[in-house]
């Protein structure tokens, strides 16, 4: 194959094998080269489109707000300042939100992952009576949903409004993740292994905790990461179920500062316009810094998570 993909080696021509190459190869090679150039160009443009906005936000977050305002910041920061970051780290709402998010993320991930792993294993066992009906019970919920209002009323009737549980429990078990975990168990845990273990007197519990779980590390990693990312980024359950702003997760705090403030400030031009404009620019600077700070933890973790997510997609694609 290297004969056709490496046009620069001239010695190929003298080799007898080259006579067996199909006649159209030469023409198609130019077609293929054009295709390669085109594909690479498209992908480079896509990379630029993804990266540039993020890069701009990073440089804008450390630039003089006036320079950003006047459109002088394009490739490098100008008039470097850390005021945006100082303001964020002085803001108690951010710290409080961050603390809450950490609690919700740890708790939510623990609840979700343990429920999903245990449940998915039970459903993966072909010898479990009633397995099909139980599975159907789960699948139905993927396609029909009681809706926002009734969910809210249930959470209220359970007395969970304004508690940690309202953020952790209502979205705990994603059926899609359950299906992925189930098919992972079906494909990686051989039935013979279980039979052998049972011969040796292992109960289902013992088999699950001592053999299945240690064999399922990639799945466990994937599930942990999916839920950490989801919980870290979620805001909607907190928005509808929490009134007490001391319980707000980081995302909700961010929403109130990043998005809500912008909407309300557009209408209120009055008083001292000069100082108002200056305050506005500082506020914008803080927003850039806030975007950086809030996305940084997951972005740093990304290279470590990448392997597992790609593997996860493979597991998912099997289904």
């Amino acid at each position: 194959m290297s004969l056709t993909t490496n046009p620069r080696t001239t010695e190929n021509r003298s080799r007898p094998l080259s006579q067996f190459r199909p006649k159209r190869t030469l023409r198609d090679k130019y077609g293929d080269r054009a295709f390669n150039i085109g594909a690479t160009a498209v992908l480079l443009l896509s990379i630029l489109a993804v990266v540039y906005p993020l890069y701009f936000i990073v440089i804008a977050s450390i630039s003089d707000p006036n320079a950003v305002y006047e459109g002088k910041v394009w490739l490098l920061p100008s008039g470097v300042t850390t005021e945006g970051y100082e303001r964020i780290f002085a803001d108690s709402r951010i710290w409080n939100g961050l603390g809450n998010t950490v609690i919700y993320t740890v708790l939510g991930t623990a609840v979700s992952v343990s429920t999903i792993l245990c449940g998915a294993y039970a459903l993966s066992r072909k010898d479990m009576p009633g397995r099909k009906i139980l599975m159907l019970l789960f699948v139905i919920t993927m396609f029909f949903d009681g809706g926002l209002i009734t969910k809210y009323l249930v959470v209220r009737d359970l007395g969970m409004l304004d508690t940690v549980w309202a953020v952790v429990l209502p979205g705990a078990v994603g059926v899609w993740n359950l299906i992925i975990a189930r098919s992972f168990f079906e494909h990686t845990i051989p039935n013979e292994l279980r039979e052998a273990a049972q011969m040796d007197g292992a109960t289902d519990f013992k088999f699950f905790f001592q053999m299945v779980l240690p064999l399922s590390k990639p799945l466990i990693m994937l599930m942990i990461m999916v839920h950490v990312v989801a919980q870290w980024n979620s805001f909607f359950d907190a928005l509808i179920f929490l009134n007490d702003d001391s319980k707000y997760p980081l995302q909700l705090v961010l929403r109130n500062i990043l998005i809500q403030s912008d909407v309300s400030s557009t209408g209120t031009t009055g008083g001292d316009i000069e100082s108002y404009a200056a305050a506005q620019r500082i506020a914008e600077l803080t927003k850039y810094a806030m975007i950086v700070v809030s996305s940084l933890p997951l972005m740093i973790a990304l290279p470590f998570m990448q392997k597992h997510f790609t593997k996860g997609a493979m597991i998912g694609a099997v289904k």
Binding site: P22, R24, D28, G31, F35, N36, A39, T40, L43, S46, I47, V51, P53, I57, A60, T115, I116, C118, G119, Y121, A122, D127, M128, L134, L137, F138, T141, M142, F143, F144, D145, G146, G147, L148, I149, T150, L153, V154, L169, P170, G171, L178, T203, N233, I240, Q251, R255, L258, I259, V263, Q280, R281, Y288, I291, L298, P303, Q306, T310, A313, A317
Partner: protein, 297 residues
């Protein structure tokens, strides 16, 4: 009975998940009856008086009905037409790259926005598209144009919504297709190469048919969620100025239901949304089955 008692440990393992869906999925489904009742907190789900289809009729006759349903369908269809094919195209292109390192790099970069929260993505849109100091408007002014107040204009809501969706999710959706492409037997490609097939021909005749089952399943799932996806983002992107195009069924349910406490009325609208979704799913699954493609069941 004996089989069941022998498997009791499996039931114990499954119990938390079952309790979860009974409480948080089936109890709300049972509660959907309030869409046909005048719900009041004292009587609860069961004892509130029946009113039949009153709430549905009120919704259909309300002046927002056409607008809200129209906006929902617009966003859903636009999203599907634009956002669904792009990850497939990206995956086909990435799959053809020869350098493993560039391949990996492209993948990582393209899917990294998926880890940024919706709140922050919308926050990014607000600062980057800001009429006073935003990057995009600075560029427009540099080119001699007039600044545009993107987030506060009804016409711009749909394009911004769809573009940001592609920006955030296309790379992540691409991974599933790449996994499917990796599963295609390389012998097919080798055989085609020997026969003199060009890259484009191989994409058309080997790669595309090879990932078609995955494409179909994801398409059906996308249809099934057509009216649900992106509700959080629409809510975040809403400003009083773009409400005429940004109010979709789900945000309307949120406003009418939770902010104005019209529980029964908005539950009826929510149910309308769910049923519409279910109908779409069934229709498309049937079509896929007729066309002999992979189906969900």
């Amino acid at each position: 009975m004996k089989r069941i008692s022998r498997a009791w440990q499996l039931y114990v393992l499954l119990a938390p998940a079952i309790v979860y869906i009974l409480v948080f999925k089936y109890w709300p489904m049972y509660g959907v009856q309030i869409a046909f009742k005048n719900y009041n907190p004292v009587d609860g789900f069961t004892d509130s008086p029946w009113v039949g289809l009153t709430h549905f009729i009120r919704f259909v006759n309300s002046y927002q009905f056409g607008q809200v349903v129209g906006n929902t369908l617009w966003i859903a269809v636009l999203g599907l037409l634009v956002a669904f094919p792009i990850p497939i195209i990206l995956a086909l292109l990435v799959n053809q790259l020869q350098s493993e390192r560039f391949k990996k790099f492209t993948q990582t970069v393209l899917y990294s926005p998926a880890f940024i929260s919706t709140v922050v993505v919308v926050g990014i849109m607000f600062v980057v598209l800001s009429p006073r100091s935003g990057l995009v408007n600075n560029a427009i002014q540099l080119g001699g144009g007039e600044p545009i107040f993107f987030m506060g204009s009804a016409e711009w809501f749909r394009p911004i919504y769809v573009i940001s969706d592609v920006w955030q999710n296309a790379g992540f959706s691409m991974i599933v297709y790449l996994a499917a492409l990796a599963a295609i037997d390389p012998a097919l490609h080798d055989a085609a190469k020997v026969d003199g097939a060009s890259k484009l021909q191989r994409i058309r005749h080997i790669d595309l048919p090879g990932i078609m089952p995955v494409v179909t399943i994801l398409f059906i799932l996308a249809i099934g969620n057509l009216l649900n996806v992106g509700f959080e983002k629409a809510l975040l992107m809403q400003t009083p100025l773009n409400i005429s195009t940004s109010e979709i069924i789900q945000t309307y349910v949120y406003h009418a239901g939770l902010q104005q406490a019209q529980f029964s009325y908005s539950a009826a609208i929510g149910l309308f949304n769910s049923l519409l979704n279910l109908a779409l799913l069934l229709v498309f699954n049937t079509i896929a089955r007729r066309a002999n493609q992979a189906t969900l069941w």
